[in-house]
Every structure is written in C-alpha cells, then in structure tokens.
Amino acid sequence: MAALMLSRVVKSGFEFLQTSFRTTSLAQRCTTGNVEQVRGYYVNWRMLRDVKRRQMAFEYANDRLRMNAIRKNTILPKELQEIADKEIAAFPRDSCPVRIRNRCVMTSRPRGVKRRWRLSRIVFRHLADHNQMSGIQRAMW
C-alpha cells in the first residue's frame, strides 16, 4: 500500500515534470553554437507543489471570487452567507491563493526573493555581478 501511494505520488510528480519537459525538450543551441544546458525539471518537490498550488488557484479563482462576493455582503441574508462559508471551506485547500509562496525561480528559495526578478538575493547578486542583468549596476553614492 505504501508502494502504491509512493507510485501515485511519483506519477503525479512526473506528470508535472513531463509538462515542463515538453516545453524544454531540445537542448538549445545558443548563438555561439555551444549547447546550453536547459532545465528539464523543477528544482525540488517544494517548487513543484508551489506550481500545483498556483495552477489550482487559477482554476478556482472565479469560483472563489463569486463565493466571496456572496459572503462579504450586507445585503444578502445571513443564512445564505453561512451556507456560502461552508461551501468555500469545502474547496480544496490548494485552491486558495494565500498558500502560494513566491519562490526563487532558479533555486526555489522561499525567502529573500525580489518580486520584480523572481530571484533570490543570492542568485540576483550572482547574475548582476556577471553582467547578466540588464540595467543593473552596483550602487555607489
């Protein structure tokens, strides 16, 4: 039974890996002709789970919006609002956007991530020092 569960988890994981794999199937050649290594996988399982949460939140976004509109209301009767409360609690847990964490895209670091670049501070510094970030310069004043 444990093996079944494990296989199911691995299967769902690999579905996601396969979707990512499909988009980056060919090793890309850059302009100089060197083969660049292209990510075919997510960095870790935590990142994968975050991806799943984002997709689910996107799916249920409209429903949640409408249910919240019914709940946060002074016009509709309270009985209806209570029922709506229960219904929204019955949605899958991963469908709420609050559970999404803005992880670093390269390292999956959950903290120290700058939103504009979606990178953690360490990766950002690394790329900026190697002149890979357009318009970023070392501050000096």
């Binding site: 302009t31 002709g33 019914i70 509709l76 029922i83």
Partner: protein, 401 residues
C-alpha cells in the same frame, strides 16, 4: 434610465473588481456621481484610456473618473469641458442629415480656463436647429433602449436617434446637448477605428470635429533672406538653393502616389490571383511535409536579433511596440454597449428584494470593468443565476427570493 445612456458616451478604462467594494445604491447614483466628480483629479476630457498592463495580468484598481457627459448634460454651467459648435448648414430633413451636419461642423475642444470666454461667445452664436422632424422622443427612446446590437462604421442612426431622444428629455439646452453627445459618440467611434487599424497618419482627417490645421509651406525659396549671398565669408559658395527649388514641388506632395502616370511599366493583370485555390483541408502528411521543410530551412540564429525573432515567432517574447490587447483581437469588435448595458441579462432574477439589489451591484461593477470580455461577464452573471436557483429554498425561508 437616461443615466445609462449618458454612461454610453465615455468608457472608463481603469479597472474595478467585478463586485463593487463600496455599495453604491442605484437610487443614490446621481448624488454620488456629483460629489465624486468634484474630487476627481482628472479634469480633461476622458478618452479611451488604455491602461498599461501585460497580457494576462490585469491589475485591479478602483475607478476614479466618471462620465463627463452626465456632468455636461445635467449641469452645463458647472461643466468642465465645453465644445464650441458652429453649425454651418441649414437642416434639410430626416435623421441622416444630422450626420451631414456633424461632418460639416467644426468643433474646438477647450479646457476649463477657456470656459468662461466660451460662455460669452455662445450667446452670440447662430440660432440652433431643433430636431422637430423627429418622431416622438419616447418612442425613439424605447426603440433605442431595446436595441441590442448595432454594427456600425460611422454613427448608426439608432445611436443618433438615442442621442436626440436623450437631449430632448433634458431640461437644458437640447440641441446643444444633442450635438455634444453626438460629438462624443463620433470621437469614440473614430478612436476605436483608429486604434483598430493602427493608423496614426490620418487622424486629422478621421476626427472631423477637430480643426484641421494646414501647415503653410515652410520653405519659401523667394524669401529675401535666401537671396542674400554671403560669398565674402571665404566659403566660396552659398546655401544650396538650386536643389531645394527643384525638389520643392515633389516635396510639396503629401504622398508618393499623386501625380501623373508615366505609363512606363504595364500594370499587372489580376488573372492569376483570382483563380480559386484548390487546397481544401491539408492532410496530416501535408502538415508533416510542411514541418519537415520548415525544420530544414530554419537556420540556427546567427546573432541575438535572429534569436529574438525566433522567440517572438514562438510566442516566448512579446511583440513590440507592446500591444496591451495582444490576445484580444476579437474583443475589439464587440460594441461597447454590450459591455456597459448588462441590465437585460437580469431578466431571470426577481425584480425586488436583496437578490436583485445584489445583482444590480454586480452588474454595475461588471459594466465598469474593462478587463473582462463580454463572455466572462456573462459567465459571472449565469453562475450567480444558477447559484441563487439552487439556494432558492434557503432564500425563500428568509423571504429574500
């Protein structure tokens, strides 16, 4: 009801969440409008303000601007912007002549500072034309409100009729409000057309209401300044005017294709192009072959530019100049009144009670939201309809349905 006709004249581009956060009671709408207009920071005439947003990333923000038309028609003396109208042709008869009238009109759009001067000028203007030959205002109005779809190149007669009906129902200067409304509609139409086609050269021709300034020929070779020669400087030559004189006639022409034909080359015959194409549905083998050919032809990108071209074709890179409505080409064909007048979709809901109130708020919010397609708005409304039908018993117990 006429409040919504007035809303038709302006289209608010800043987004609002589909459910309005502050409950605007429909009966109090006019008062809230007047108070918030005074706090509205944007005094200029509101056009189709395109918000800058990435595709599939629509931020929500509260809307601050409201319809200027309401302001103008309800209280023209306190209005901010004013259109100065000079009517040049006498009315012949019938609705279509309004359009002729409008095309002949020259209107200048001014700001608040010139309002007082305009007011004094208005009193000296020529006597206005009244829409006397129109049918009764109420019948026009009914016809206009029941009309759902109006595909139009220029102003459709229904819109013109609706505008005249609205104007005649206003207590203040009727023909003036009517002309203002029509001018707004025309401008709106022209803006959308220009945006659709992407033409930026001929705005002066399209927006017929604005004064078209003609640039006098800047280079006049016979100016005395050009005739003075400064050979004494030691340069030994003057400003090269000969070339200027020769090409001046060519330069004066605004486009390439005016002028006499020389008949040097035979004009292309269109017989080959009019042959009907015989390919019906490409089979899988054809698609495969086309894919193979494309793969063979496709070269590795030699430089960064070609790489970016390839990415743009793949869809990985946005198309520049950034088009805010990149994936939404069909949406621009949908006429704006389908976005704004969502009242007709509320027929399935009860007429009274909190449910109706709630749905009216929903409709109000949706009509102000420029980021959703009409389909999405309909989906929202239908979901609510189903939901309330499911919860009918609960609502009946609390006497809300």
């Amino acid at each position: 009801m006429y409040r919504r006709i007035i809303l038709l004249a302006t289209r608010n581009r800043s987004g609002i969440s589909p459910i309005a956060e502050h409950s605007i009671n429909i009966t109090n709408q006019q008062e809230t409008k007047r108070t918030s207009v005074s706090t509205c920071p944007n005094r200029q005439r509101m056009h189709y303000n395109k918000g800058v947003c990435a595709p599939n990333n629509r931020p929500f923000s509260t809307s601050t601007a409201l319809s200027k038309e309401n302001e103008e028609s309800s209280a023209p003396k306190t209005g901010v912007t004013e259109a100065k109208v000079k009517e040049e042709e006498p009315r012949k008869s019938g609705k279509e002549n309004l359009l002729d009238l409008l095309s002949a009109m020259k209107v200048g759009v001014t700001t608040k500072k010139k309002f007082q001067a305009l007011k004094s000028q208005k009193s000296k203007e020529q006597p206005r034309v009244h829409p006397e030959s129109m049918e009764s205002a109420t019948s026009m109005f009914q016809k206009a409100t029941t009309e759902q779809q109006a595909q139009k190149e220029s102003l459709s007669p229904e819109l013109v009729a609706a505008a005249s009906a609205v104007a005649s129902s206003m207590p203040f200067k009727k023909s003036q409000t009517e002309s203002e409304l029509l001018q707004q509609l025309r401008k709106h139409e022209s803006d959308t057309e220009v945006h659709k086609k992407g033409e930026t050269n001929n705005i002066g021709n399209i927006i017929a209401d604005m004064k078209v300034g003609k640039h006098p020929n800047a280079r006049s070779p016979n100016r005395p300044a050009n005739q003075i020669r400064f050979d004494d400087d030691g340069r030994g030559y003057t400003h090269d005017r000969g070339v200027v004189n020769e090409f001046d006639a060519v330069r004066r022409r605004k486009s390439l294709f005016t002028g006499k034909r020389l008949n040097i080359f035979p004009s292309t015959t269109d017989t080959t192009e009019t042959e009907p194409k015989e390919v019906s549905v490409p089979s899988l083998w054809d698609i495969e072959l086309a894919g193979q050919i494309a793969a063979v032809i496709k070269h590795l990108p030699r430089n960064g530019f070609e790489e970016m071209i390839q990415w743009t074709k793949d869809g990985k890179l946005w198309q520049y100049p950034i088009n805010n409505e990149a994936g939404l080409e069909e949406e621009s064909d949908v006429p704006f009144h389908e976005h704004v007048f969502l009242d007709s979709h509320l027929e399935d809901f009860p007429k009274q009670g909190p449910v109706r109130h709630f749905m009216e708020l929903v409709i109000n919010g949706l009509s102000k939201n420029p980021y959703l397609t009409v389909k999405q708005k309909m989906e929202h409304i239908e979901w609510f309809h189903e939901y309330f039908q499911q919860k009918e018993e609960v609502l009946k117990e609390s006497e809300a349905y």
